[in-house]
Symmetry: D2
Subunit: 369 residues, 4 copies
């Protein structure tokens, strides 16, 4: 995920934007076909120095300016007229937003794969332990009997609902941005935008969304909610792994969870990663939300604050998922300890509808996938 939001992928996405723009304009007769081929070829073959470009972008305040400059220079060497047709009608934000959405699309695929893997592991836990009694705890106090399968089913529904929300929001947000200097599509056409969107496998908006950021904010919120749903599992596992409780443990992994001071320790490192991610995500969402009232046709400050926050949210969600999936897959459950703690709490043995609820949740999960 770090690579997906790294400079190299950003540069590739930016070049894909320019190539798709040229192709679409050629298809609509706005520029000659051979100019588009020359531009697309240059985009495909360009090997710019990424560190230099990043520095120039920081100086210019936008990536588009140094990138388009270099692209034009590269093409001008062989084909002067084509060079002038690079980035035609587009503006910096068109490139920046579309490239971000291309990165987000790649990130979304990683998120979905990891979340599905986690959900499947949780479903197996829910099934295996549907009838395994344990102590249900509320406000950190023993309450009434449940089964461990019910607990796992609750984790499962949490992750599943959060993943669906994420997929809905991704569907809504992963949209081409093409508006030109002030979002009026001056010198552009709807047909060009629709071709580009199809070419880049992005959605098409009824009008450019350059100062309308609900899609990005929705995506950010959905990532934080997903991270929180994973953090919920980590919270429970780490509480169950306490020495005095000892009901479940992260699987042993060589070289993981040790202590530099205490050889006996076995730290819940997967939970640590997930809980740390769940602690960091909400503030990143707040920053994106607080940027929504952007100024006129392109915001000053609020817009520019979005991309690093969104990238971090993808990284945190993915990191949490990747940390907890193996925990769920290899969770060491001590049913004897669960039963012992339940007995010690002296709250009876009736596990209510736990097993039935767990199976109902499983059926719900399987029906909708």
């Amino acid at each position: 995920m770090i690579a997906v939001f790294g400079d190299e992928t950003l540069l590739r996405a930016a070049l894909d934007f320019e190539a798709a723009l040229a192709h679409a304009q050629a298809a609509e007769g706005a520029i000659p076909s051979d100019a588009a081929e020359v531009i697309a070829g240059a985009c495909a073959g360009a090997r710019f120095d990424i560190a230099e470009l990043a520095e120039e972008a920081a100086h210019a305040g936008t990536l588009a300016i140094p990138l388009v400059f270099r692209l034009r220079a590269l093409i001008a060497a062989s084909d002067g007229p084509a060079a002038k047709l690079v980035h035609l009608g587009a503006t910096s934000q068109d490139l920046a937003d579309t490239a971000l959405m291309l990165q987000a699309k790649a990130g979304a695929a990683l998120i979905t794969a990891e979340a599905r893997g986690l959900a499947d592991a949780l479903a197996r836990l829910a099934e295996t332990y549907a009838e395994t009694p344990m102590l249900g705890r509320t406000l950190l106090q023993g309450a009434l009997p449940i089964t461990f399968g019910l607990k796992a089913a609750n984790w499962l529904l949490g992750v599943d609902a959060a993943l669906r929300r994420f997929e809905r929001e991704a569907q809504e947000a992963l949209v081409l941005q093409l508006g030109g200097g002030a979002g009026s599509m001056a010198g552009l056409t709807f047909a060009v935008a629709e071709r580009m969107a199809a070419d880049l496998s992005l959605g098409a908006a009824p009008m450019p969304w350059q100062s309308r950021r609900d899609g990005v904010a929705g995506l950010a919120s959905a990532l934080a909610i997903l991270t929180g749903a994973v953090g919920k599992i980590a919270r429970d596992v780490s509480l169950m792994a306490q020495g005095e409780v000892a009901e479940a443990f992260e699987p042993r992994v060589d070289g993981r969870g040790g202590s530099s001071a205490m050889a006996h320790k076995r730290n819940p490192t997967g939970c640590q990663v997930a809980l740390s991610a769940a602690a960091r995500a909400p503030g990143l969402v707040a920053a994106i939300l607080s940027g929504l009232p952007q100024e006129h046709e392109r915001g000053l400050g609020g817009w520019q604050a979005e991309a690093p926050g969104l990238a971090s949210l993808f990284e945190l969600a993915h990191g949490a998922l990747a940390a907890m999936r193996p925990v769920a897959e290899g969770l060491e459950v001590d049913a004897t300890a669960q039963r012992r703690n339940l007995r010690a709490a002296n709250v009876g043995a009736d596990t209510g509808q736990s097993a039935a609820l767990a199976r109902r949740a499983l059926a719900h999960y399987r029906r909708d996938r």
Copy 2:
């Protein structure tokens, strides 16, 4: 909206929960029908001292305990056996979460009505000014010509998309909570839960959601995004209302927008309300998101932090909508000033596809409503 989340409505919602529980249990044969009638009658007729109850709830750490105590005392006077059947199988959180969702349902209706009214006013602006040229501005600098209708259409799509998200999230979150002491539905049945949900016009979850809070978090995020979409309009209007720009003004309202020091001033008070709401909402969302990793079957701290935050988010969203709807309905637009500022910027007169874009956005809005 303040009434919707006030103590009186909360008490009413809590009594509705108890009545619906008794009715559903009677219909499923879990308690005698006449006991249910007695309970429901007491719930309908109860006139508890709200301030006293609130104090007792704060002391007890939950509303359910003093409320159920009083309800039982009220009933016991006439029907001892029925008194014991109040709140049967339910727990404090069942009452608290369900009552909150009943309040949220009432709040959602207000939000939707106000947002539709605002959207309609924005649609009228988009249509009326579809071809009215003005300066498009990016990064607070004059950029290229647009039309004022395009700007209004952008506001419209922002509010409309945010309202749809809100409606989706409300659909998902407005769900009955009924799990009993540890969420295992001990002493309860699915049939009772389904009857209750239908009776209260709430959705039914595959299993209790007491420590699975993605629904609440999604609703909170959607409210903040909606508030931000309204804040975006306020940002633009307040910038256009600057004396040097003078392109649009809030309508004059007697006694509003004055200054205690300067009689000549006409302050953008509607924008002030909306921008203040948009500044406050993101942090409230962050608090709810950071509570997602709740402990076991009921969280300690994170859960209790949700309700005041959600109530504030409803109030802020509604306050922003109610402040900006009359602004949109009565906006004073100075097309001459818009044209003058555009000319002064010396960026040409081609408004690109602005009018076509504005009409496309309008068609999109109308098709989907």
Copy 3:
């Protein structure tokens, strides 16, 4: 604390502002002395309808306008010329900011008293249990022996440091605001401002701070840090109170901590209040911080968002302190269980420098108070 930030106290503070302004202006010869007496008398005697005023303030966008209007009307009945001298040279924000600081000053006294009480109780715990061995836990895993006195000393230093920061920030923030319409002190003098500050027991700023909000932001942060330091105690107590750990418990309080479903439960209600407060405070700080880049001489949105957030932060900090002080004062410590859990963890019995560290912390605390 709710009263301190209630409408009645706000109105009183606002009237105190107007009286102090009149007195100071009379002392400096800017208005006649008898006019000042009339104004101050009216301020002292005024009994305005608070609900009506609040509604008018919401409509006007500021409290000053309806308040000054009523004050003038009240005075005009007896003394026309004096009526015109009310609020002379001042603006709405002068009244609003100064009144908020008067409320904050009253709130700060409550915070300090409660925090000192909590700290003293923690100091007693640190002393009493300086040598009582227990298991030290890191990452929720048993680590090495400590003493319970060391844990209490750590809580003590946390609360003490947070209280000092709060006192520093209060010192810096509790300052008169008097700038007139645009902060230029037009029609005002430094001497008037200094007299007013002395009269109201507030600090005096080198120049009006109407769009310079670091003081408010610093105060807000300090309140959240204090709330977090109290939340830290709640986190530890609630973890120690888990049934399987059973090392410490909140004192029993009649009618507190019960469950509406489970008669056996004893919930950590004080911890619940403190942890909920600690979950809500950070987002409120973020809202205030994000408003710092205010527009020109008075911000639009960011400024108006401050007061409700600051009031909530005072309430949350005070609520957390008031909830945890009796917990610390009456904490039921089970040293036998602590010893048993330590032995079971099999990490040796050497409590290191724990007792010496606890005493060192105590000495540090006592020296500086």
Copy 4:
């Protein structure tokens, strides 16, 4: 600043920690002097592969484990007994927290230098334009006359107060952490800690602060407040730079502020950087504040979330300062436009006490530096 919080500096700080620990332990007779020399020599000469170490640290859940392993292996080759004395009595968090504070110390020096430079430039503006009349604006509406020097003086006091708070908080937070496995200083002594603190130029705490994070939270808040104070300048400059206002402009810098679509544009790129930083900082603070209630002797999740947030806050504060310092140093002020806009607002010409206030603020600033 990115280098200060980069992996290379972190590794260097971690090695400095180990060397200082060995030196202090030798000075106190806890380990042989020649072993300390060998360890310190190895720390000085170590050239570990940073990417490999980072990956191992991510896997282990802490940097200390792979680093100490490598350091021991490096030393063992020449001196077996010394190898075993590396990291003696310390724990992962001792290294992590102390290294973070060493990075923060280096970061603080950069912040202070840049903030002083900005303040000096603002002081020059306040002096130069003390009597230059312009329109004071409240709620984005023309209010009353001020001078531009008053506006600059307000910026100056904001930055100066924020810098002082930062320096106070740095003083409080930049403290050695040395507690061993559970913070009991088992196998360590106060004398060792004091020597180490002196050696590393950090403060010494009365007891280890591993689960007492008010210092980090205070530093984080102070950085965000400083960033907000810089953002305030950026807000005003960007509003003044609007084409219709045209009162002040960022200095022209080659290759900066251009547009990829519109050659005529001159974007306020310094303001953009500062406003984006001010939008991102508050959420990062919220994340750190929400981690304050850490579990027992070392938190799980909340602690680990701090370091990346703190690093980002240093980078944002420094980025904002570095962007706005040249803007303040080279600000192009159009006093004619200021006068014209003032006249057009028709609010009189009396600039009140503006010049006197500006000079008073300057005197205040200079007296305390």
